[in-house]
């Protein structure tokens, strides 16, 4: 890779780092994992930066890599899961107070399956269209719609999420 391309990638990396870490965080709920995912996405982008640059949409590429890396991590973790004889204590979520909406929101997101969580984050946080989400996740638009609909239904059912919202639906 020539110096110009190196410089261009360096600029891209600095500009997207925080955004990618946040995307990783909202997908995983873990800051360490989020930074690791962001690094993975950027490293893979570096490995084929000339081609990505020619394609013209490096943001879409790194987002897709990050989301897929998270899915892969999740699958690997599930395979490596150890079965125990006792049921682990479910985490306590403070939904009664309502004073910390951020905690409630993140807890609700973390309770979603990884596929539904990815759809919600890409569709509503990054304001991507359904077609863009489908492309980023490597699935059909129909799947995006289905996953999004199920995710929203679950979020609606979460009692702490309604408070502080200015507009009501239904």
């Amino acid at each position: 890779m020539d110096r110009a391309a190196e410089a261009e990638f360096s600029e891209f990396m600095d500009g997207r780092w925080l955004q990618l870490v946040r995307l990783g965080y909202v997908l995983t709920g873990d800051r360490g994992l989020a930074e690791d995912l962001a690094q993975t996405a950027l490293a893979r982008a570096y490995a084929c930066w000339p081609q990505i640059r020619r394609a013209g949409d490096p943001d879409a590429y790194v987002r897709r890599v990050l989301v897929n890396a998270n899915h892969t991590r999740f699958r690997k973790r599930r395979v490596a899961e150890q079965l125990t004889g006792t049921v682990p204590e479910p985490p306590l979520v403070d939904v009664g107070d309502g004073s910390d909406d951020r905690v409630t929101l993140m807890a609700a997101l973390m309770r979603l399956p990884v596929g539904q969580r990815s759809v919600v984050v890409l569709r509503f946080w990054l304001d991507m269209t359904e077609a863009q989400v489908a492309e980023a996740l490597g699935c059909s638009v129909g799947t995006v719609k289905t996953q999004g609909s199920r995710a929203l239904a679950k979020l609606r059912a979460c009692p702490g999420l309604g408070e502080g919202v200015s507009r009501e639906l239904l």
């Binding site: 360096s10 990396m13 600095d14 780092w17 925080l18 870490v21 946040r22 965080y25 909202v26 800051r31 989020a34 930074e35 962001a38 690094q39 993975t40 950027l42 490293a43 893979r44 982008a45 570096y46 490995a47 084929c48 930066w49 909406d101 951020r102 929101l105 993140m106 997101l109 919600v120 984050v121 509503f124 946080w125 990054l126 304001d127 929203l152 979020l155 609606r156 059912a157 979460c158 999420l161 309604g162 408070e163 919202v165 200015s166 507009r167 009501e168 639906l169 239904l170």
Partner: protein, 416 residues
């Protein structure tokens, strides 16, 4: 009523993430990881390119080599055209043919023909043929230490039951046959896994309660009962006793085989296309492009697989020694091979693949470990070859004979 608004969701996530901050991107680590990924991808691409090159180059080189050097001799899958094969076996010439006896049916009796003495000796004790129906007057099958013989009488001649014929035992070299008993024509006498015994199968009379269910009994070669009588599974013909007490059957309608426990009346195992069976061995060759023989050792339960030359596993001609340890196989248009059923080792006997204008006849001398092969040219009775082979021999020992009577007997007789 729900108070959740997905339109606000993005802003609320934004707000939740506002507290998530991070330092500058670890540029050095990311670039180092990126370079490693790039190196791995290049290596993978190079590996794939090498594989593709090998996959393309090997068949091309093989084709070019084949075109330059002519037909490549292959033990695995020789595919010579039958009309291009030689008409004579090749090997070590010997002045005299190996001495052995042939069991030869004549119109009304059975004789031994001795290749050493070049004369025939009649075998006594057999039912005379009064009204034979088949191409031969007697049918033969190998038993341990000798042969069963069945007089192929017209149905009205034998009064021994429905579809039954008289079965006899002829010990190797003996001039007197002993009567085993009346048995069903399809599978009346069958080898047992112990010497001096025969599985005799017959059908109950049509008026009997169990009419239609064949019965089998282990008897001596003189017909003396040695065990209980078992009712056999319908739709199968007995082929032989295997192991201590099991029986091997062949379906009457197809080429499926059944290993059956007479004590429980249950099938132990099923096979397709059994080509030979010994006292403890069952050899079969399933349909496949390459040809292979699988041998089950019944007492140990172990199976050995041996690839053999040829492409057609069906229609193999076989001969198995009495102890079941040596199995001679010959595919159509192919040469002879011998499988050691104890080890799975294969010995290809060179010079035995002959053109389709020849006849070939082979068997184990007295059921032992010496293979006798006779061959000649169809419709050209000038001469014939008699060859012998035993384990350890690299080639056949071949004698040429010109006696027309002997050639006819070699062609029609049963070697053993």
């Amino acid at each position: 009523m729900s108070c959740f608004d997905e339109q606000d969701l993005g802003q609320r996530v934004d707000g939740a993430l506002a507290t998530i901050t991070s330092g500058p991107a670890p540029a050095a680590a990311i670039v180092a990881r990126g370079r490693r990924i790039r190196r791995r991808r290049r290596a993978a691409r190079a590996g794939v390119a090498v594989l593709i090159a090998v996959a393309v180059a090997v068949p091309v080189a093989s084709a070019v080599h084949g075109a330059l050097s002519g037909p490549r001799p292959s033990l695995e899958h020789p595919t010579p055209r039958p009309d291009r094969l030689p008409a004579k076996m090749t090997g070590l010439p010997t002045p005299t043919a190996p001495a052995f006896r042939l069991l030869v049916p004549t119109l009304k009796r059975v004789v031994w023909y001795s290749t050493a003495a070049r004369h025939t000796e009649a075998i006594g004790g057999l039912a005379p043929i009064t009204q034979w129906t088949g191409a031969q007057s007697y049918g033969f099958g190998r038993l341990d230490g000798g042969w069963w013989a069945m007089a192929q009488q017209a149905p009205t001649t034998c009064t021994c039951g429905p579809g039954a014929q008289e079965f006899y035992f002829i010990a190797d070299g003996s001039l007197t046959a002993t009567r085993i008993g009346a048995g069903y024509a399809g599978d009346g006498a069958n080898p047992a896994s112990r010497a001096g015994a025969v599985w005799l199968v017959n059908q109950p009379p049509a008026t009997a309660k169990n009419a239609g269910s064949p019965r089998a009994q282990l008897v001596s070669t003189a017909g003396r009962p040695l065990g209980p009588r078992y009712t056999l599974p319908a739709g199968y013909l007995l082929r032989r006793g295997v192991g201590s007490y099991l029986l091997l059957f062949q379906a009457t309608s197809n080429n499926h085989f059944l290993l059956w426990d007479p004590r429980t009346g249950r099938a132990v195992r099923r096979f397709g296309n059994v080509i030979a069976a010994g006292p403890e061995q069952i050899a079969w060759s399933a349909g496949c492009r390459g040809c292979r023989v699988q041998v089950l050792n019944v007492p140990t339960g172990k199976t050995l697989t041996t690839p053999i030359p040829g492409r057609q596993p069906a229609n193999l001609t076989t001969a198995i020694s009495d102890d079941g340890t040596l199995l001679a196989v010959q595919p159509p248009g192919g040469g002879l091979s011998v499988v050691d059923t104890a080890t799975g080792a294969l010995t290809v006997i060179p010079g035995t693949a002959l053109s389709n204008a020849t006849w070939q006849n082979f068997g184990w001398l007295d059921g032992g470990h010496q293979l006798i092969v006779a061959a000649g040219t169809n419709n050209q009775p000038g001469s014939a070859q008699v060859a012998s082979w035993q384990p350890g021999d690299a080639r056949l020992r071949i004698a040429t004979i010109h006696n027309q009577g002997e050639i006819a007997r070699l062609q029609a007789g049963t070697i053993g």
